[in-house]
Amino acid sequence: MKARVYVMLKNGVLDPQGEAVRHALGSLGFDGVEGVRQGKVIELDLAEGATEATVTEMCEKLLANTVIESYRVEMG
């Protein structure tokens, strides 16, 4: 069983890496990119029977820093 966790900086927390990517896209001629946010995807291979609640607990305890990051869990 698989779970996928998406971790992003919260809205309102400046993302300097995303800004750098936005500038680079602009200099490559891609106009109209108004914002870039960079996050990470964490894939988990879980034993059968694992619940979304357990993955949420993993996010709260380790996978995300909820002071500055938000997360979303996809199961299966």
Partner: protein
């Protein structure tokens, strides 16, 4: 003062911090991250700079969940002192002992140079050797030192006089120029600059010495 310095895989300022404590007169024990208990009678725990666990996942995140950090948290909750420098500051925020988080530097570059720090509060055991408003020169060396707290938490830190140091010329984008903060009981300090690298004439500056001396005085008079 009996001090312990925690060593993680990837710590690289652990011995510098131990020497700074020793030169001030402390007994220092090095503690490995897999140890489950701090030595008996420890007054101060130093959490050193470096790149614990290769900065994997987030700076300090894996270290904050290591066995020794459970003891560190208990030590702090009992009213014990702790000093986290650079990666140590990142670790202390990840444990929740200090508020906020350290983001990638605003300019995206790793910065390694000496900066000016203003002593924003002299009312801590760490900063009592300075006067409020003093400017000291201390090196920084970090890629993720851009301090973040919510507006609400910032107001609380300001009300409670918990900002220990601010940058005179903000190098990394930190909220309110913050370089170091203390816990609510004022016994845990986290800071990005390295006072242990300004603790000997061979370092090119000795502005950090007053911090280690003040800590020794704290325990001498206690």
């Amino acid at each position: 003062m009996k001090a312990a310095v925690i060593v993680f895989p990837g710590s690289n300022c652990d011995r510098d911090l131990a020497v700074a404590f020793e030169q001030a007169g402390a007994d220092v024990t090095m503690v490995w991250h897999k140890d489950t208990a701090l030595p008996e009678g420890i007054d101060m725990v130093g959490v050193p700079g470096g790149f614990s666990f290769g900065d994997y996942l987030r700076c300090g995140a894996i270290a904050a969940n290591s066995p020794i950090c459970q003891s560190l948290i208990k030590h702090a909750e009992r009213g014990g002192y702790a000093l986290g420098i650079c990666n140590g500051f990142q670790i202390l925020t990840e444990t929740g002992l200090l508020p906020g988080a350290l983001r990638r530097n605003g300019g995206l570059k790793y910065i390694c140079r000496t900066v000016g720090l203003e002593v924003a509060s002299a009312d801590t055991a760490f900063t009592s050797g300075y006067n409020k408003g003093d400017v000291v020169n201390v090196p920084i060396a970090h890629h993720d030192g851009n301090y973040f707290v919510t507006d609400e938490k910032l107001a609380q830190l300001q009300d409670e006089d918990r900002i220990a140091f601010t940058y005179t010329d903000n190098p990394n984008g930190s909220v309110a120029d913050i370089a170091g903060v203390v816990s609510k009981n004022r016994r845990v300090l986290g800071m990005m600059p390295h006072p242990e690298r300004a603790a000997d004439t061979g370092h090119g500056g000795t502005d950090g010495v007053a911090m280690f001396r003040a800590l020794m005085d704290q325990f001498a008079t206690a």
